[in-house]
């Protein structure tokens, strides 16, 4: 774009720049600088308590890629993301379809379904850890009472239970996001599409497959990408549920970053993990950016 030639135009552009300037300054301080700094720090070996370090080049990355822990954590991250995301989407669509129907006290039902999403992860984790409690937890009691178990289950301390537990809690906490997005879209599907499908002889399933799902395709794509990105970088929930344990069985990449920095006191290696993780995420992020651009063009 050519610089504006008209004085009024130029004054307007100047005002626009002034209005965005505070945002840009804050961006530089808390995002751009840390981002560049992270890449820079990942080339050093830094001892966290003293913050003294020396330049080691790419050897942090070399260690990372050669060692098993990074790959193990990456695999955990992927398992967690794929499983919890799948559950979120399936439950989310089902709940949205349900809430779209006329049920009694619909707005109360909607509030109750949405609440887990807005509640603090800390609260969610405390409640679930209490539910999962091996001796006094209601979950074990209910399952024994129902005959599903004959002795209390250790939900968080052994594998694969720990992974299953965090996947379940993740699904519970985040499926409302899918519900809201899908529900909003459902409300905009014109009724005459369903009427036409009914006239053409489609049953309830047929209408779902041929009318609802195709209409939901775009919103689902966006929801899946966003949730994939957010699930991938989830720290609070997993850290607070299992701390990555037992041992490192549920340790995902964000947890590894934290452990390297403050458990192993290796700040440089920690940033290397963070940067590597960001590059993995970049794939999703670019996909999302492309999708957002296409939506904006529409």
């Amino acid at each position: 774009m050519k610089p504006a030639t008209n004085p009024l135009d130029r004054r307007d552009a100047w005002l626009g720049v002034m209005l965005i300037a505070p945002s840009v300054l804050i961006f530089c301080a808390v995002i751009v600088y840390p981002l560049v700094s992270a890449i820079y720090l990942s080339l050093f070996s830094i001892y966290t308590p003293t913050l003294q370090g020396n330049f080691v080049g790419l050897s942090n990355y070399a260690e990372l890629l050669a060692g098993g822990e990074f790959w193990h954590s990456l695999a955990n991250t992927l398992i967690w993301t794929v499983c919890t995301l799948t559950l979120q989407v399936v439950l989310g669509i089902a709940a949205a379809l349900m809430l779209h129907q006329a049920i009694i006290f619909r707005s109360l039902a909607r509030s109750l379904i949405l609440f887990p999403y807005f509640v603090s992860t800390v609260v969610a984790v405390l409640v679930w850890r209490w539910l999962f409690n091996d001796l006094y937890g209601i979950l074990n009691h209910l399952m024994i009472w129902a005959g599903l178990l004959n002795m209390p289950l250790d939900w968080l301390g052994s594998m694969p239970n720990a992974m299953v537990s965090i996947v379940l809690v993740g699904a519970w906490k985040y499926f409302p996001f899918v519900v809201i997005a899908v529900l909003a879209r459902l409300q905009t599907i014109p009724d005459n599409l369903y009427e036409a499908a009914t006239i053409d002889g489609a049953g309830a399933w047929g209408r779902f497959w041929d009318v609802t799902l195709p209409q939901l395709k775009d919103v689902l794509l966006v929801v899946v990408l966003l949730r994939a990105i957010w699930d991938f970088k989830e720290f609070d929930l997993i850290y607070l549920m299992t701390g990555g344990g037992p041992l490192i069985a549920t340790q995902t990449l964000p947890l590894m970053v934290y452990k390297e920095a403050f458990g192993m006191d290796a700040m440089g290696r920690a940033t290397a993990v963070a940067v590597a993780m960001m590059f993995v995420m970049l794939v999703f992020m670019l996909l999302y950016l492309r999708q957002a651009k296409q939506d904006a063009a529409k």
Binding site: L15, V17, F27, V119, V123, V127, A274, M281
Partner: protein, 272 residues
């Protein structure tokens, strides 16, 4: 008949979803000894608020609460004020680099905190403000600002250009048009953004964990978790009472301002 069955099924699912939260409330009002009864009681045989009293008077809970309020209010005011100006600029002004900037906002909106947190930690130590609420406010802008900018931008894009044009022709300057016309129109969007930013800050955990390790500056999230860790014998009823108290602002927002939450979702998705 089918209606009744459907309603029954739907409400069963809703109640199963809401059960953990219901259980949280029930646990918080049961006397301690009742928790360890075999088999456990569902409804409390005896309702007690002793845990709430203990929480408020015998633990640093109120300090955490005050910290969280100060922190969330400051972050919200700062971020929404800056983002409102910024979003207006991104939507209604033309200058070189504007499109790139909008893209960058979206990009940072997706950026993982763990990448930024270590350099931010070093920055706070270097500035000598680590372990303070101020350091948290600064750190929180790193996720709240891109988020608020993005949300407000989509709200403001929904305001017709003609309104501002009309104000300009009617004799307003660009800033006057912003104040007289754009701001009142954007108000519902600004309220939504405030609520989301507030909730986001209220619920934040990772930055608080890394940047603050004294009770004086600890917000509720890390504060309540530290109660779990420090207690020799985990007092679940106390923790559940803390969880309920921590969710009070959310319950208020849900009860009175839910339409703004729904609107926010429509405008630009929501942060996870």
């Amino acid at each position: 008949m089918r209606r009744v069955l459907f309603n029954l099924m739907a409400w069963t699912i809703v109640l199963v979803t809401a059960f953990p939260l219901l259980w949280m409330v029930l646990t918080s009002i049961k006397p301690q000894f009742e928790l360890f009864r075999m088999p456990p009681t569902f409804w409390p045989e005896q309702i007690t608020f002793e845990h709430y009293a203990r929480l408020l008077w015998e633990t640093p809970f109120l300090t955490y609460m005050r910290n969280s309020l100060v922190l969330s209010f400051s972050t919200t005011v700062l971020v929404v004020a800056v983002a409102t100006l910024g979003a207006h600029s991104l939507v209604r002004f033309r200058y070189p680099g504007r499109e790139r900037l909008a893209q960058l906002v979206l990009f940072t909106y997706l950026l993982p905190s763990v990448v930024l947190i270590l350099p931010l930690y070093l920055l706070m130590v270097w500035l000598g403000i680590a372990n303070s609420l101020l350091s948290l406010v600064i750190a929180y802008t790193s996720f709240a600002l891109p988020y608020a900018l993005w949300l407000l931008r989509s709200f403001m894009q929904g305001i017709p250009d003609d309104l501002e044009s009309a104000a300009l022709v009617d004799g307003a300057t660009r800033m006057e048009a912003f104040v007289d016309v754009i701001l009142p129109q954007a108000l519902p969007g600004i309220i939504s953004t405030c609520l989301f930013t507030f909730i986001l800050s209220w619920n934040e955990y990772l930055y608080a964990l890394v940047l603050v390790n004294t009770d004086e500056a600890r917000p509720l999230t890390t504060g309540v978790m530290s109660m779990l860790v420090s207690a020799f014998n985990i007092e679940w009823s106390l923790l559940m009472a803390a969880s309920v108290m921590m969710s009070v602002p959310l319950i208020i927002i849900f009860a009175f301002l839910q339409k703004y939450l729904t609107r926010g979702f429509g405008a630009g998705g929501v942060k996870g």
